[in-house]
Amino acid sequence: MSGRIISSLPGDHRQAEHWQVDTRQADVWASLRRVMDPELDESVVDLNFVTRAEVDGSNHVHIEFRLPTYWCAANFSFLMADDMRRAVGTLDWVTGVSVVLGEHMYADTINAGLARGLSFQETFGGEADGDLEELRRTFLVKAFQRRQVALLNHLTGTGHSPQTLTALTLFELRGLPVDDEGGRLRQRYLERRDVVAAARDEMPAFVDAAGLPLSAERFTAYVSGLRRVCVNAEFNGALCRGLLSVRFDLETPFVPKARASA
């Protein structure tokens, strides 16, 4: 977004400074892009949730985000904020990260918790029973399944047999010649492969949610069994995007029926 104004700035010193801010900001956005809505398994940046990501003079990062509804589950909301804080915090030049959620029923509670670096449990006290790790894991497994079935459908569609695919090791999968789309899907799958089982080179490339290798015989039944997980997730993604766009007017403003037909 920024930085294209460099040529109009006086002096090399200022240019260098701005260039630095520019790359730092790009680093922040790149980190945020890797943070997923746990339920939708899509980037919080692509979903248009993040409204602001700024770096100040002392390398403190300030992030603001909003969600499709005022009622979005507080636990998911907290999880995303926490993930953003962690992701940006790993950049070595960052001195601090503040994350603020806007226009949410529990915005004040969540923001106060985030500002003090509290956990979800600590933030909500007696109202929450249990931390978010189990929830996080449930959705990581669903994401693993969706990414896997997308890759498997692509690979079978491009001529790989169930026999070949179930025999692949992770090392072989990484080296498998694929087209651009295949490469993208493989990358996404590999990012979640270690959710269910160890992911060393010699391990089977494709395992189920329990970490057991897929077999050629039950391959077709297995893939169609994952169908519901995908249908459900796509439905949710469509709903969330639609609600966000209406709530924050991301599309053409609505023309009332009476005026539209006049």
Binding site: E39, P68, T69, Y70, W71, C72, A73, A74, N75, M105, Y106, F124, G126, E127, A128, D129, G130, L135, S224, R227, R228, V229, V231, N232, E234, F235, N236, A238, L239, G242, L243, S245, V246, R247, F254, V255, P256, K257, A258, A260
Partner: protein, 345 residues
Amino acid sequence: MYRTAAGDEIFVIDGHTHFWDGSPANQKNIHGKQFIDCFYAYHANLSPPSEKWEKEKFEKYDAKTMFDDLFVSGYDDMAILQPTYLTDFYKNGFNTTERNAAMKKSHPDRFILNGAFDPRDGSKGLEDLHALAEKYKLQGVKLYTAEWRGESKGYKLSDKDSYKYIEAAQKLGIKNIHVHKGPTIIPLNRDAFDVADIDDVATSFQDLNFIVEHCGLPRLDDFCWIATQETNVYAGIAVALPFIHSRPGYFAHVMSELLFWLGPDKILYGSDYGIWTPKWLIDKFMAFEIPEDLTKETGSVLTLENKTKILGLNAARLYGIDVEAQKKKIRAGGGYAHLSQPVPA
């Protein structure tokens, strides 16, 4: 009443309607405003542009508008009024049984009036349920397990207190338990979308029917698995149905899964009025077919017979409606007069 081109008459029971007041005058706080705004976002996002309402009409519509939308311009023959109290957000509640009862009183042959309870209301709540069931001869209730109340952030049907209420409801002649398991209404620590508690009570209360509203979305995958194991679990397709316009491909997937796992006898149509209106939903539903590739995969087909069941016969069975007798009553009351008139240009 929907008439096909071939002249078949389809009796329609709308399993999910509301007569609400979300107007600023009734809003108690910011939550009341945000609640109706969120409903409006569902409406505006998923309705065809020609069917969008002005915000003001959406916040509060009158009884005549509702009657016309459902039964005159819409194809509903009957509609189930499902209450949503939300007394923490609205001065007079959002859509209480009492408010709905006025609609039922004006049009007794057209409406089925459902009540509600909340197991967190203790013995006072049990007394209220008793009074409500006797006063309105309730056959059904609508429950929101995700509703926050004071310190509590929702409950499960499998909780001890829930059992007390369900047992009481059963004694009072209530047969149908509609449970909201759908898109978010304020869940926190308890995963309010979780449908596992349905599994528990459906097994324990074999004589009751459990209608999972919004078919467990966003947990359709978990819901299908539970519903298929219990003979008394049904899916209400309100909220899923409007996707028929904006995302017909996803709607096809949802229907093919429901038909595959539950079968055509356990799916109930619902418009979720006033979020959406029956006219366009049913026009599109009647014209809809599941694409061949999905049918090949799941064997699911939306035949005319299946559509007839989903639109009315299944709900008629659950609520003991004799369809032919009911048609006679409605016809005698002039309810079908508009059907014999020429279609306006």
